[in-house]
């Protein structure tokens, strides 16, 4: 058996095919179907769990996680602006990407944890959803400043109705309302096929990642360093928060992974409209070209190992 989980081999297959300029590609409609299925199954799985959680604990975790999502961009911004010498809009936009999350990274993490029987709070998808938005608003404020009227309300509204959130939250609600038995008849599509669907998705992710390397070469070393350094920092924040919230070891590692992951769907879409002067290829080169591969290939095991260390030290 290979060093990598097979789904990662699909990512590498896509990456290789892309770099070799193969004509392989998933039709847009298939890519959408596959991401819809991933979002729904993640949501449903998490929703079933939600019912079992005390509301108080959930609210507290949600608030804490939102705070983290707003804080991380505030850390990333100055680094990008002053060390990276990026224009204000670009720095703000990239920062927003790193404050938000990547569902694909979470999906890979779940298969990593499951195959190693690492337990984690099953309502994580709820925190995943909660973590998606705040960074976007912070990013816009960083770009525009609070002074000028920027209708954060309508932007939040726009973003909340984005495809990704609707499916993730919709899945959470349906899972929560239906419970395990209610969901059972849909298990074959949403749960049994999960890993195969994820493999297809990662195949396309590999192709998309390969397409980013060109721009990476153009924008140079700093972006690469940032794309690796930032998630490392975020993962530490995530571990601290998870530990502080009293999450399990697995839950803490998972929160570290969420913190370390960078958005490439919700945030780019929002930034394109709200901060148009930001160059979208920059943020995607960093988040898709560097951080995503780093996280799925190296980060996930690493953040987990770090968490184990922390719990060991703390434990005794």
């Amino acid at each position: 058996m290979s060093a990598f989980d097979p789904v990662l081999l699909f990512f590498l297959l896509g990456l290789t095919a892309g770099l070799l300029r193969s004509e392989l590609r998933l039709p847009a409609a298939v890519y959408e179907l596959v991401s819809m299925l991933l979002l729904l199954s993640i949501g449903l799985k998490g929703g079933v769990e939600l019912a079992r959680q005390p509301f108080g604990a959930l609210a507290l975790q949600a608030l804490a996680v939102m705070a983290m999502g707003s804080l991380l961009p505030l850390v990333a911004y100055p680094v990008l602006r002053f060390m990276g010498r990026f224009p204000r809009a670009d720095a703000a936009s990239i920062a927003a990407h790193y404050g938000s999350v990547s569902v694909a990274t979470y999906a890979v993490a779940t298969t990593y944890f499951t195959s190693r029987q690492i337990e984690f709070e099953a309502h994580m998808p709820f925190l995943l959803a909660v973590l998606e938005i705040p960074a976007i608003l912070v990013g816009i404020v960083l770009a525009r400043g609070l002074s000028r009227d920027i209708r954060l309300g309508s932007i939040a509204h726009e973003t909340l109705l984005g495809k990704g959130i609707v499916l993730l939250v919709g899945g959470l609600v349906i899972g929560w309302a239906s419970g395990t038995d209610g969901i059972a008849p849909m298990k074959p599509l949403f749960f049994d096929l999960f890993k195969g669907i994820l493999a297809l998705f990662l195949l396309e992710m590999g192709l998309i990642t390969a397409a980013q390397f060109g721009s990476l070469r153009r924008y140079g070393l700093f972006l690469v360093l940032f794309g690796i350094g930032m998630p490392l920092f975020s993962s530490v924040v995530g571990i601290a928060l998870g530990y502080g919230l009293g999450l399990s070891l697995g839950g803490t590692a998972m929160l570290a992974i969420l913190a370390a992951s960078a958005s490439y769907i919700a945030v780019p879409a929002a930034m394109r409209i709200s901060v148009p002067e930001a160059n979208p290829t920059l943020s995607l080169a960093a988040s898709l070209g560097v951080t995503f591969p780093f996280n799925v290939l190296v980060g996930i095991p690493l953040y987990h190992a770090m968490t184990v260390k922390v719990f060991a030290l703390a434990g005794g």
Binding site: A28, Y31, E204, A211, A269, P276
Partner: protein, 100 residues
Amino acid sequence: MNSSMRKLLTVITEAALESVLTKDLERLGVHGYTVTDARGKGSRGTRNAAWGESSNIRVEIVCDATVAETIATHLQTRYYDNYAMILFVSDVAVLRPGKF
């Protein structure tokens, strides 16, 4: 056929703009528009429609010269600097000019 002349304004731009763009068009008083999905290459690089972010739309508006001018000016001032976008105008003959 008793036809009369109108302008056909074609805009090619990022798919991400579709909803805002069509809202703009309606505000600027067009009677209709047509959208098709596209991919392509230009000064902002290749947009191969491999996924949402990188796909284009091709918007056509048949209207009179004044409206065409208004739209062109609006798009140029509003979007040209920050978005992948081109536009071009040609003359077309239409039946039932009232529609446009």
